[in-house]
């Protein structure tokens, strides 16, 4: 099978189709912090962010530090009638695996450990690479897959689950919340802040294209149009 051909881009980069209703529309110029919504279905199309590379970078670094704490320290401890037990995030998945629930163990590991790591790692690489004058194409490749890592990263759901488990167990044993639980709580806030401080449109506007020849031609045409050369 031959590779699919590239499509021809339009000359107006502000012209978009709404991802939820396909309405063709032109994005308005936005001030910092303002958002543009689709007039037909109210989907938020673009929110312009102040310092769209610096803030996500700072938040991603802080998230990476908390992530390490969350995955290396105990999350829950329990003591009852002379017994003492504690578990980490990884230990929870491991216990499922050892008890014949391998597939669920992989799902727990993926949503609570792997996907958040990818979410943070991709963000670090994207904002790091996007700081170059012409961000290389691999930045676009990571950016393309970044929303999926956020969809499957479920730390906030896991914390709620852990809290329910804690209160359930508290009826017949004393439970102690470990440092990892507090680190995870902080991580939820940082990840949400990181996602909302980031402006993917800003990076897409500068990234090297898959079809680089077309981009160069389109830029030339735009310059000619600005200079009043008839096409």
């Amino acid at each position: 099978m031959t590779a699919r051909p590239y499509n021809a881009p339009g000359s107006d980069s502000r012209l978009v189709g709404c991802p939820h209703c396909d309405l063709l529309q032109r994005l308005p110029a936005l001030a910092m912090g303002e958002a543009a919504r689709c007039p037909r279905c109210e989907k938020e199309l673009w929110r312009r962010r102040e310092d769209p590379l610096g803030r996500p970078l700072a938040l991603a670094i802080a998230a990476a530090i908390l992530y390490v704490v969350a995955n290396t320290s105990p999350m829950l401890g329990l003591s009852a009638v002379g017994h003492h037990a504690s578990t980490t995030l990884f230990g929870g998945a491991r216990h499922l695996w050892d008890n014949g629930q391998e597939i669920v163990a992989v799902l727990v590991l993926f949503t609570a450990v792997v996907a958040p790591a990818l979410q943070i790692g991709f963000m670090l690489a994207i904002v790091g690479g996007a700081r170059r004058p012409r961000p290389p194409h691999w930045v676009g490749t990571l950016l393309r897959h970044h929303p999926k890592t956020a969809t499957w990263s479920m730390i906030e759901v896991m914390i709620l689950g852990v809290l329910v488990a804690l209160i359930k167990i508290a009826d017949y044993a004393s439970v102690v919340a470990g440092p990892a639980l507090f680190a995870l709580g902080g991580l939820v806030v940082l990840l949400a802040a990181m996602q909302s401080a980031f402006d993917p449109r800003d990076v897409w506007a500068r990234v090297e294209w898959a079809d680089e020849a077309t981009r160069a031609a389109a830029e030339r045409a735009a310059l000619d149009a600005a200079a009043g050369v008839p096409s």
Binding site: N7, G17, D22, S86, G92, L143, A210
Partner: protein
């Protein structure tokens, strides 16, 4: 300002789902690639309705064993007690514990069944070419997309309860066979949401004027 409400597809534009760029395929073709990010493009997600139905039906099938089989087995000196999701909810129900019980009830029983019903409703209305309540239907889609992940909560509750309550020989909690089916319902409904193309909701509508508020 008033502009004719026209879909990008009617003008021959393909909107990239990954980077948002509008581009035009070669005349007559509908399977190019995005020149900016390289993503495979189509006017609509390919076989969206069929794929979404497949995930929804699979989720509905798994929903039965997920609720009938035990998700947790508690072993004490008195013997083994298996608990289904609903029994877990009832067990948590007490004068002090009812808010938790409610969280599990909503996240584990109401959200998954509501998701399956909502997606089936969206699919049926799209297949019938319905032109009514478009804005409400797309809002329903977004709600399903937003709350779907929260049904994973019971998987985490059972995982960490089982990992922690290991007080042999007094008491031990092990995951039950229902947990796999329950996790499958959550994953399958999330994949169904991902396969559904909300733009299909608007495709049946004739082009009309839209007032910019």
């Amino acid at each position: 300002m008033s502009a004719p409400a026209v879909g990008a597809m009617r003008r021959g534009w393909q909107s990239c789902e990954a980077c948002g760029l509008l581009s035009r395929p070669a005349p007559g073709a509908d399977d190019g690639r995005c020149p900016r990010c390289g993503e495979d493009l189509a006017f609509r997600k390919r076989r969206s309705v069929e794929r979404t139905w497949a995930f929804v039906i699979a989720a509905a099938v798994c929903y039965v064993p997920a609720n009938v089989l035990p998700v947790m087995v508690t072993t004490t000196a008195a013997g083994s007690a298996p608990d289904t999701i609903m029994e877990g909810v009832i067990l948590l129900w007490s004068p002090t514990g009812w808010p938790l019980s409610l969280i599990v009830l909503v996240a584990s029983i109401m959200i998954p069944s509501a998701k399956i019903l909502a997606l089936a409703y969206l699919l049926v209305t799209v297949q019938r070419g319905s032109v009514a309540n478009n804005a409400e239907r797309v809002r329903l889609y977004r709600t399903v997309e937003l709350i779907g992940r929260w049904s994973m909560v019971d998987v985490f509750v059972d995982t960490f309860t089982a990992a922690l309550v290991q007080l042999q020989p007094l008491m031990a909690v092990e995951p039950g066979p229902g947990l796999f089916f329950f996790a499958a319902v959550v994953v399958l409904t999330m994949l169904a949401v991902e396969s559904f193309d909300p733009r299909l909701i608007w495709d049946a509508a004739p082009a009309e004027e839209v007032a910019h508020a």
